[in-house]
């Protein structure tokens, strides 16, 4: 059904909204300011379920800010104000009664630099599980194996699960962080330039992983790398100055952008 949606959208010019049954996230007139300085202005877009959506745009355009807003990471910073709505599966995530820790379990996040915790590989993946409920060890082991397998890391680490995670290479660390996030079975996975600190081979592995993961969950990818966005994503949103400039299927945005600004950015004439 989604495939038909994709082809339908390919012809239509502006796509910012999807029918309710296809959307994982719906962002409506969302604005955000750091200490009074606006970073996002009245942003509205829908993120389709089980697809990879890329946010692209020059540095400071607000794409990371938007990503962090979806996971409510800005809560840690007191000087952030926001307005508008973000709905996850129809529920307003900024509603007063929202359980923030549950939201963050459902919306996993992977950061630019790999940040494994200073503990063993096993404990890293078990971290999120241990926060929720006590599982029998057998069941926990199964989930950890499944998560590491999903993150394409199991074969590399299965013999050294109890070694320090900091001994892994950068690319392995990033896949470990993805496995750690997958272990709590999120609905949405936010990736904030997940490969920008990695070498080309590790980058390819991460990209392949992203493509494989979309059968399980919805992915949002922030990237500076145009080729990466083109290779990996199904939908692309181009942002500039805290505003959404253009949003459509990746094919359409990259081959036939509606706006001159988008084309300039994609072809490297504007940074």
């Amino acid at each position: 059904m989604l495939a038909s949606l994709d082809s339908a959208n390919a012809s239509q010019a502006p796509v910012t909204h999807f029918p309710a049954e296809h959307r994982a996230l719906s962002i409506e007139r969302f604005s955000l300011a750091y200490a009074g300085k606006p970073a996002l202005r009245e942003l509205s877009l829908d993120v389709p379920r089980h697809r990879v959506t890329a946010f692209i745009g020059p540095s400071g355009c607000g794409k990371s800010t938007l990503l962090r807003a979806i996971n409510r990471l800005h809560d840690l910073n007191e000087s952030v104000e926001h307005s508008g709505r973000i709905e996850l599966e129809g529920q307003d995530i900024y509603a007063p009664r929202t359980n923030v820790t549950e939201l963050r379990r459902r919306v996993g996040m992977v950061f630019q630099t790999p940040n494994p915790f200073p503990m063993s590989i096993y404990e890293n993946v078990a971290f999120g599980l241990r926060l929720q409920h006590r599982l029998p060890k057998r069941q926990r082991d199964d989930i950890i194996e499944w998560a590491l397998t999903s993150a394409a890391l199991w074969d590399e680490v299965k013999d050294r699960l109890h070694r320090s995670a900091w001994q892994l290479s950068g690319g392995q660390q990033q896949r470990l962080v993805i496995a750690r996030t997958l272990a709590v079975q999120p609905d949405v996975l936010l990736l904030d330039e997940p490969a920008s600190a990695l070498d080309p081979i590790s980058t390819l592995k991460i990209e392949e992983l992203i493509r494989n993961l979309k059968s399980q969950l919805t992915l949002i990818l922030v990237t500076h790398n145009m080729q990466q966005a083109a290779r990996v994503s199904d939908y692309t949103a181009f942002m500039h100055g805290g505003e959404l400039v253009e949003y459509g299927t990746t094919d359409q945005v990259f081959t036939n952008p509606r706006l001159q600004r988008t084309e300039n950015y994609i072809t490297g004439r504007m940074t």
């Binding site: 990471l73 379990r105 996040m109 971290f127 999120g128």
Partner: protein, 469 residues
């Protein structure tokens, strides 16, 4: 002004500055080495059984004693040598300066003995015989009887009397019970001297002081120092760590926080005697006085907690070292990348879970550093302790078999204060000087061991959680 430097003088400076830096390092190292070797030689040398000399003077007088040092007299009037002669009960003094020109002969007869006595200090001379429980022994058998008797515990020693002769032929009778140690250093082999040295070092570490702290050991002071420092760490660690967590993790980072932080840093620089005055006023007189009037009114007017004691000393030093712990912990917390915190929060951890599972374990090495710095500082503080509970000679140890086993209200002995007291307040400062060096060495060693423990623990915790930190 710059222009006036010629190119060549600049080039010279350029070549010289690394040497200047190296020279300052070398100078610091040299001073430290000098300090440590002085303490080592003077402190440990004291326990070596020194050779006893018998000196015949031009006047015909014979003097026995241990040669200490020589000084040349002003205006080329020759030189004098200082002897420790002991026998204060006979000659009235322990020390004697002899002009080198007056000395006719120096010998080291094997028969010379040195006895440590409880009143009057050391005796140096000859053992003539022993009257022991009806037996009359002389010469070598008497010496063997004496050493055998001294090897027994004090309670099982036979009663008896030694007959002693000084160098000038006076005969003394000395009860066996008053002797604590006897050596005949001139008759000892090198190996015997070494084992005697080891024994005396052990006695220094394990026995209580004698003769108003001018001889004997320092065990109560070691124990008091360690106990006080442990109590202090137990008090200061939770307070310091919690304060650092508040400042770094919870408080808004605004001008007030910065002000508090500057204040804390400056507290570390307040002279320690000021903390002593505070401790005396608030802990001893304020809190201690109130405790006494509430719970110990039956023993008033003699104070229980209303006078200096172990608890108040520990509290005062905890206050003194609090800034050290806060600053070190805070620096450790600040070094933890925000990515770690965000990573934990992004997985659904609450703030408390993030703190307990990620942040605090990573900050453990820094906390340890803070605590050990605090311990090292507290172990060496003397000034505030003089006001809040240290004693020249504590009649009871702060821990004993009597309920409640740990007596927080008791006064205690402390190595630093013991050092001060021995060096300046003894009857015979000259005789106590080697003990001062030995105590100083011990204090340095304790602080060194504490610091090494900290370094070891820090490395251990770092290795436990990955390779770099």
């Amino acid at each position: 002004m710059r222009r006036q430097f010629t190119a060549s003088s600049l080039r010279l400076l350029d070549r010289l500055w690394p040497w200047l830096c190296a020279a300052s390092v070398a100078l610091s190292l040299l001073m430290l080495t000098a300090l440590l070797s002085l303490l080592l030689v003077r402190g440990l040398g004291h326990f070596w059984p020194a050779t006893l000399e018998e000196v015949t003077l031009r006047s015909g007088e014979v003097v026995t004693g241990e040669a200490i040092r020589e000084t040349s007299l002003p205006q080329e009037a020759g030189a004098e040598r200082l002897y420790f002669t002991g026998n204060r009960d006979v000659s009235g003094a322990n020390w004697r300066w002899l002009a080198l020109d007056d000395i006719v002969q120096r010998t080291t007869p094997e028969a010379l003995v040195r006895l440590e006595r409880t009143p009057w200090g050391d005796f140096i001379g000859r053992l003539v015989g022993i009257d022991a429980e009806g037996e009359q022994l002389e010469g070598q058998p008497a010496w063997e009887y004496l050493t055998a008797a001294l090897a027994l515990p004090a309670s099982q020693r036979p009663s008896g009397e030694l007959v002693l002769a000084t160098a000038d032929g006076q005969i003394l009778r000395q009860p066996l019970a008053s002797i604590s140690h006897a050596t005949a250093p001139n008759a000892m082999t090198w190996w015997q001297k070494t084992s005697a040295w080891g024994q005396r070092v052990w006695q220094f570490l394990s026995e209580g002081p004698r003769a108003a702290n001018t001889s004997g050991g320092v065990w109560p002071a070691i124990f008091g120092t360690l106990l006080m420092v442990i109590l202090m760490s137990v008090i200061v660690t939770p307070f310091g760590v919690l304060a650092a967590i508040y400042l770094n993790e919870i408080a808004h980072q605004n001008r007030l926080t910065r002000l508090v932080r500057i204040g804390v840093r400056n507290l570390a620089g307040v002279p320690s005697i000021v903390y002593g005055v505070f401790g005396l006023g608030v802990f001893v007189y304020g809190i201690g006085g109130s405790l006494d009037s509430w719970f110990f009114s039956n023993t008033l007017p003699s104070p229980t907690f209303g006078t200096g004691g172990l608890l108040w000393a520990s509290l005062t030093l905890a206050l003194l070292t609090l800034p050290v712990v806060i600053v070190a912990t805070e620096e450790g917390l600040a070094r933890i990348p925000d990515a770690q915190r965000e990573g934990a929060v992004a997985l659904g951890a609450t703030r408390l879970e993030m703190l307990m599972r990620i942040v605090l374990p990573m900050a453990v090495p820094a906390m340890l550093t803070g605590v050990i710095l605090a311990v090292a500082r507290a172990a060496g503080e003397v000034a505030p302790l003089m006001l809040v509970g240290v004693a020249k000679l504590a009649p009871q140890m702060p821990v004993d078999g009597e309920f409640p086993y740990l007596h927080l209200e008791r006064k205690f002995m402390h190595l630093g204060y013991h050092l001060f007291d021995t060096a300046f307040h003894g009857e015979d400062v000259q005789a106590a000087m080697p003990l001062v060096y030995a105590t100083a060495l011990l204090l340095v060693l304790i602080v060194l061991v504490l610091n090494l423990t900290a370094i070891f623990l820090r490395h251990y915790f770092r290795r436990q959680r990955g390779n770099e930190c």
